[in-house]
Amino acid sequence: MTASRTPLLAINDLHVTVEGKQILNGLTLQVGAGEVHAIMGPNGSGKSTLAHVLAGRPGYEITAGTVSYEGRDLLALAPEERARQGVFLGFQYPVEIPGVNNVYLLKAAVNAVRKQRGLPEVDAFEFLGLVREKMRLMHIEDSFLSRGVNEGFSGGEKKRNEVLQMLVLEPRLAILDETDSGLDIDALKVVAAGVNSLRSPERACVLVTHYQRLLEYVVPDIVHVLVRGRIAKRGDRTLALELERRGYDWVTGEAA
């Protein structure tokens, strides 16, 4: 579909303000199909803002720059349109929606994507089979099926649920916003296995993370360091290790 030379995601000179405050400041980034990118950076560098802007969250003002996805203007699309086109955001703090069943939300999401593609609604029986299979992969208990969306979930359960949703929706571009934060080592391995299971030449993944720990299990092709709203440094897997050893001060100092 996309020519190999056209990146799946191309962010060019992106400037974003929130309530008048400049957060992204000329960010340029290209993600090709089949690639896994890690976005690292100190607190407040704009990592989560980038993730939210890509998903279309309201409240962010884009003052300059462009974002294209599959060669089209991503910023022109409503958030639900982006999701239906295959953009997935794994939330850092997934919200609870009391009384709304997990599976119900997931089914509605799958059907929204299918409708977009002109496919009939998913067969309930088949769907349940698929969800159960992915749940096993994510080590999620059966009782999950009857619970409310993120209702009473532990931090780790919420994160695993995000990855479960991703696995069921099979997005073309997955953006995971600090999905590793607050996970113990076992949960981290489960989440990593989930993310790895989706790696393919057609898909791409952007991992927003503060620590390099996740990258031991999901090895990125490129590591970017975000400082004060722009990419200050890029490199391969070893950059993440160096960051861990030397701290962010090393890059922020260089960037200043």
Binding site: E80, R84, I97, P98, A112
Partner: protein, 482 residues
């Protein structure tokens, strides 16, 4: 909806297509209310003397009363002398002549709710003089009930077939002196439902006003009496999810429930009377008195209501828990949009020892709507070890609406346990965005979140009703966000 219910609906729907009988009775009495009018109503219905006398006592008492205005609703005083209190059957000649004359907004709503075409005319009040033939389904329905010994008939019919039950129970829960609107109803009530479930009988089907085909057009002063004898069970469904128009602005109904030893009455309502236009003009005033009494030991009365219609709702389905160990429940979803006003809640009166009550109220306000929960939990000295749990949640959509809560608690026995939880929330941006980011359209996301908010009430509704209620909520809150 179950396959059976669907088939049933199709069958009933078919009945509307043909078999209309035109029966125009032009004897509508002149507007105004006095003893002569009450005597005339009673005579027209060939009622026994005790009932005529009861109506007259109610009228005399009513003349000493004043229209109450304590509720958190605003309306101009009603001119009771300008209302005609007897018209049988209503010819609906003032209604729209065809669907072409009906408010297109209303028709759009029917479309969205999936109301069959032939139903729309009746609901919209089109002048078709619809007194339709008895349908085989309804006949079968009655036969099955009769086999079980259950009486389910129009009130006016029961007055002749079971006068002793009427005399014994009418007004025994809501006395004719109860309140302004109930007293007015007692004097002039038109018709309604009568149900008697004999000892130990589990009513074989849900009783729905939908089937009470020969008692249509009795909306204004409806009177319902349900008696569940010892050890019996009955589930009663009132209303219809499609918005119904009525030429009468004032609706003052009374419902009385009596549950004897170990009896269980489940009463579910979906109320969707015409709410008026977007500016609040022309809607129904729904001033209703509903009360049940758990008269026997371990009796159980459960009210579930989904209120989305009417310009003004004034309604407090209550339980008098007299029998030892009896249980009262109230589950409510009340929605106001545009300029609707609702003042609704319940009263749980604990008289017997070890009585328990549960109140779950979900209020949703949108547009310029004003939503009030008003509830009373009263534990009398005789109610040893009584328990109540109240949960009262409000959801606001937009900045122009209001949610108000007036919980009253009176405890006169120190062994009682009374719990009250309340919350007010808005549909959060986070919840909405979470759904959008999963590809779900905004309106669907709002419906999903609201349904989740109401879940603990919806699960109390019979299956078919729950589905209808959910659709109904979606339609009545359309455009409330975004």
């Amino acid at each position: 909806m179950s396959e059976n219910a669907r088939q049933l609906e199709t069958l009933i729907g078919r009945g509307y297509q043909h078999g209309f009988v035109t029966e125009i009775d032009s004897d509508t009495v002149a507007p105004g209310l006095d003893e002569d009018v009450v005597r005339l109503i009673s005579r027209k219905k060939q009622e026994p003397a005790f009932l005529t006398e009861w109506r007259l006592k109610a009228l005399r008492h009513w003349l000493t009363m004043r229209e109450p205005h304590w509720a958190h609703v605003k309306f101009t005083p009603i001119d009771y002398q300008s209302i005609s209190y007897y018209s049988a059957p209503k010819s609906r000649k003032d209604g729209p002549k065809s669907l072409a004359e009906v408010d297109p907004k209303l028709l759009e709503t029917y479309e969205k709710l999936g109301v069959p075409l032939h139903e729309r005319a009746r609901l919209a009040g089109v002048a078709v003089d619809a007194v339709f033939d008895s349908v085989s389904v309804a006949t079968t329905f009655r036969e099955r009930l009769a086999a079980a010994g259950v009486v389910f008939s129009p009130f006016s019919e029961a007055v002749h077939t079971h006068p002793e039950l009427i005399e014994q129970y009418l007004g025994s829960v809501v006395p004719y002196t109860d309140n302004f609107f109930a007293t007015l109803n007692s004097a002039v009530f038109s018709d309604g439902s009568f149900v008697y479930v004999p000892k130990g009988v589990r009513c074989p089907m849900e009783l729905s006003t939908y089937f009470r085909i020969n008692a249509l057009n009795t909306g204004q002063f409806e009177r319902t009496l349900i008696i569940a004898d010892a050890g019996s069970y009955v589930s009663y469904l009132e209303g219809c999810s499609a918005p119904q128009r009525d030429e009468n602005q004032l609706h003052a109904a009374v419902v009385e429930l009596i549950a004897l030893d170990d009896a269980y009455i489940k009463y579910s309502t979906v109320q969707n009377w015409y709410p008026g236009d977007a500016n609040g003009r022309g809607g129904i005033y729904n001033f209703v008195t509903k009360r049940g009494e758990c008269r026997g030991r371990h009796a159980h009365i459960s009210w579930t209501q989904v209120e989305t219609g009417s310009a003004i709702t004034w309604k407090y389905p209550s339980c008098v828990l007299r029998g030892e160990g009896s249980i009262g429940e109230f589950y409510s979803v009340a929605t106001v949009n545009h300029h609707q006003q609702a003042d609704t809640g319940t009263k749980m009166i604990h008289i017997g020892p070890n009585t328990r009550s549960t109140i779950i109220s979900k209020g949703i306000s949108a547009g310029h709507g004003q939503n009030t929960y008003r509830g009373l939990v009263k534990i009398l000295p005789s109610a040893h070890a009584a328990r109540n749990f109240t949960q009262c949640d409000s959801l606001l959509m937009g900045a122009q609406c209001g949610a108000h809560t007036f919980p009253y608690v009176e405890v006169k026995n120190p062994s009682a346990t009374v719990e009250h939880e309340a919350s007010t929330s808005k549909i959060s941006e986070d919840q909405l965005f979470y759904c959008l980011a999963r590809g779900i359209a905004q309106e669907d996301a709002v419906n999903m979140i609201v349904s989740g908010f109401c879940k603990s009430v919806f699960k109390e509704l019979p299956m078919e009703f729950a589905v209808e209620a959910q659709n109904l909520l979606a339609v009545s809150l359309e455009g409330a966000v975004g």
